[in-house]
């Protein structure tokens, strides 16, 4: 049975029934109260008592008193009571319908026929002390729905009852429904931000409905994800340890061999050392790529001064590049601080810049610029341009895939693009940014990185 379904269904249903019931009850109580007060049981009795009232007022307050009394009565009564003079005109100058005039004339004629008999109809005559007489006549045909609804007591009571009853029911229902959903959505955000220990079923109190089920499902999912992520992390660190232990021994063995060999096999040993270093680097890159794809690192973020970070990376890469007759320079920089994981961002930028330094021609430099993106406000644009051979146009988008090879001999010699740009791409994506590459018309490759200033996007 869908319990939340029944909660919503029943609360709307009951509130409507309650509304109808209470307004009916209130209306009948009100009417009874009025009857009890005035001993009026039917319009006819009311008519008689109004006549007495009118006569009393006419004797005491005269015509003006009568007018104001009549106005109040008209406001209160659903049936219009007209006070007609001998010419058939209303005291308040309300229109008198021809039906009514005709009926009155008929009555007058018939009362004349009953000569001498004191017809009860004569009792509707109200005589003013200064002379002149009026008849108080109910115009039943003029009772319209519109007129009924316009009487404040008739309309106000049900409206107030409806507002209070439905207001209370809806207020509690809305709160009851949305509070746990808000908690769930907060929990989802926190979980996505890396708080894998979060569980929420216990915060649902005694609920036993779909939302409580959802909370339990969330917990199951969180449990499973945490286990998976934990297993992956464990695997990564196992792999890291297991692959690196033999590498570490290999390197020491190499050192021992060098100590013994006394320069006899230096070329071969150099080769072994280079390959071991490369293997080591690849393992490191694979691990950081795998860590990035699991995507949980962004939780360690804080304000990062991008201009300073770039300057620092440029300094250290320039230091290395100069050894190979190449340079790394910052040609344009703007102050910019964003919320980011500095380690990730550093490795992304370092990989892109180092890649540029690897491919730029001898005696040229890698040029870095940092500016507020002129085409998209709220975004930063970092461009890294080298003066190398560039890459074929159809390879531009594939550059950020792991182990892509552009396919010429130079590339095989240098070992390809490897994982550096793939790592950069994942790290930039994790920060909500994007990375792309383009060839410069006068030769060389430009890698553009766009980062949103506002990380909440």
């Amino acid at each position: 049975m869908n319990r939340l379904f029944w909660k919503i269904f029943l609360s709307f249903w009951i509130s409507l029934v309650l509304f109808a019931g209470i307004s009916l009850l209130a209306a009948s109580l009100f009417l009874e109260h009025m009857r009890g007060q005035d001993e009026m049981e039917s319009p006819r009795d009311r008519h008689i008592s109004y006549i007495e009232e009118a006569q009393f007022i006419a004797e005491n307050d005269g015509i003006d008193g009568l007018k104001s009394w009549l106005r109040k009565l008209d406001h209160r009564e659903a049936i219009p009571f007209l006070l007609l003079d001998e010419h058939g005109k209303d005291l308040l100058e309300r229109p008198v319908s021809p039906h009514l005039t005709e009926r009155l004339n008929r009555k007058q004629r018939s009362s004349r026929h009953m000569e001498g008999g004191r017809s009860p109809r004569h009792r509707d005559l109200i005589q003013l002390p200064k002379g002149g007489e009026y008849r108080l006549v109910p115009d039943f045909q003029a009772v319209t729905l519109n007129r009924v609804l316009r009487r404040p007591r008739v309309i106000a009571i049900p409206v107030i009852v409806a507002a209070i009853v439905s207001g209370l029911v809806c207020f509690f229902l809305a709160g009851y429904l949305t509070r746990p959903i808000r908690r769930l959505s907060r929990a989802t955000h926190q979980f996505a931000a890396g708080d894998l220990d979060l569980r929420i079923a216990s915060t649902m109190g005694g609920r036993r409905d779909e939302i409580a089920d959802l909370a339990r499902d969330f917990d199951h999912m969180a449990e499973r994800l945490q286990a998976l992520i934990g297993a992956q992390k464990q695997l990564l660190s196992d792999v890291s340890h297991e692959l690196r232990s033999p590498l570490a021994r290999l390197q020491v063995a190499l050192g021992l061999a060098r100590q013994r060999e006394q320069h006899q096999a230096n070329v071969e040993l150099d080769r072994i050392e280079r390959e071991a270093d490369r293997l080591n680097e690849l393992i490191g890159q694979l691990l950081s790529l795998a860590r990035l794809e699991s995507g949980t690192q962004l939780s360690h973020s804080g304000p990062v001064d991008l201009a300073a970070l770039l300057a620092e990376i440029a300094e250290s890469t320039d230091f290395e590049a100069r050894a190979a007759n190449r340079q790394v320079r910052i040609i344009d920089s703007a102050p910019a601080t964003i919320d980011a994981n500095e380690t990730l961002l550093r490795s992304a930028l370092e990989n892109v810049i180092r890649n540029g330094a690897k491919y730029t021609d001898e005696n040229t430099s890698v040029e870095i610029s940092l500016q507020h993106d002129p085409e998209h406000t709220g975004w930063l644009l970092i461009q890294v341009r080298d003066h190398g051979p560039g890459v074929p146009n159809d390879m531009l988008t594939k550059l950020f895939e792991p182990f892509v090879r552009v396919g010429d001999a130079r590339d095989r010699k240098s070992g390809g693009y490897g994982l550096g740009l793939a790592i950069a791409e994942r790290a930039i994506c994790l920060h909500g940014g994007e990375i792309s590459a383009s060839n410069e018309p006068d030769g060389g490759l430009t890698v553009s990185i766009r980062l949103p200033l506002d990380q909440t996007k």
Binding site: S240, H241, R244, S245, L247, A248, R249, L250, Q251, V252, A253, L254, G255, L256, R258, Q259, E273, A276, N280, G284, L287, S288, D305, A307, A308, L310, A311, E312, A314, E315, S316, F319, E320, I330, T343
Partner: protein, 233 residues
């Protein structure tokens, strides 16, 4: 002869490294878990520990934390490459240097020598070379004779590396010292790729010394250039 304690749970690797370092002229002891490392380190038989992070019983960080409670024995940490967080933690706990593992044994030997040279230069400073002097700047005082640092008259415990870095910065107070220069003068080695040890030592120094009395930063980072000890002329 310098005595080195190799602390690593990889017995084979330790054996090979011992062989290598002995040829390089060191006397080498070994420990394969955290507790043994700590026990041996506290005997005072060693001049330096090469400490691996991943070890059974107590890991490298725990050993370092425990050791630093009463000893400034130089420590070179071996961390898995790419685990930046590890190296940051290690250096802030007071490691003198760190090397990503696997590492070239030649580099390891060079780093060990650099730390020992620094250590010896400082302990022998008064006897052999320049006369002991006192560097004072504001609330900070360094006595090169006894190698002590006092802040507002209170002594501050420092590893020899932190001391060296601080001394260089203090001598150049008011001037910017580049990371490469700091690395050469204070660590006794060239700055290398992915090398963040200077930054880590600086962060540790800042933590120990706090900011200046007027709230100003004591040691400033100059964007892309280096570091500067704040000094008003």
């Amino acid at each position: 002869m310098n005595r080195i304690l190799l602390a690593d749970d990889d017995v084979e690797l330790c054996g090979m490294l011992k062989q290598y370092l002995e040829v390089e002229g060191f006397q080498v002891g070994m420990a394969h878990d955290g507790e043994a490392t700590l026990n041996q380190a506290q005997t005072g038989d060693y001049d330096l520990i090469v400490l691996d992070v991943m070890m059974p019983l107590l890991n490298g960080f725990d050993v370092l934390r425990e050791l630093r409670k009463d000893s400034l024995l130089p420590v070179l940490m071996l961390t898995a490459r790419g685990e930046d967080v590890d190296s940051i933690v290690g250096l802030e706990l007071g490691a003198d240097d760190y090397l990503p593992k696997p590492c070239n044994p030649r580099v390891l030997a060079a780093r060990i020598r650099a730390i020992l040279r620094r250590e010896q230069k400082q302990t022998q400073h008064g006897e052999e070379t320049a006369p002991p002097e006192t560097l004072t700047l504001g609330d900070l005082e360094i006595q090169t004779g006894s190698r002590t640092v006092t802040l507002n008259g209170e002594p501050v415990a420092m590893t020899s590396t932190e001391y060296s870095v601080l001394k260089v910065l203090l001598r150049e107070a008011g001037h910017v010292v580049s990371k490469a220069e700091l690395s050469e003068r204070a660590l006794g080695r060239e700055l290398t790729r992915y090398d963040r040890s200077i930054d880590m030592h600086l962060s540790s120094l800042r933590k120990k010394l706090g900011s200046l009395a007027n709230g100003e930063e004591r040691i400033k980072t100059v964007r892309g250039v280096g570091y500067q000890y704040t000094h008003r002329v």
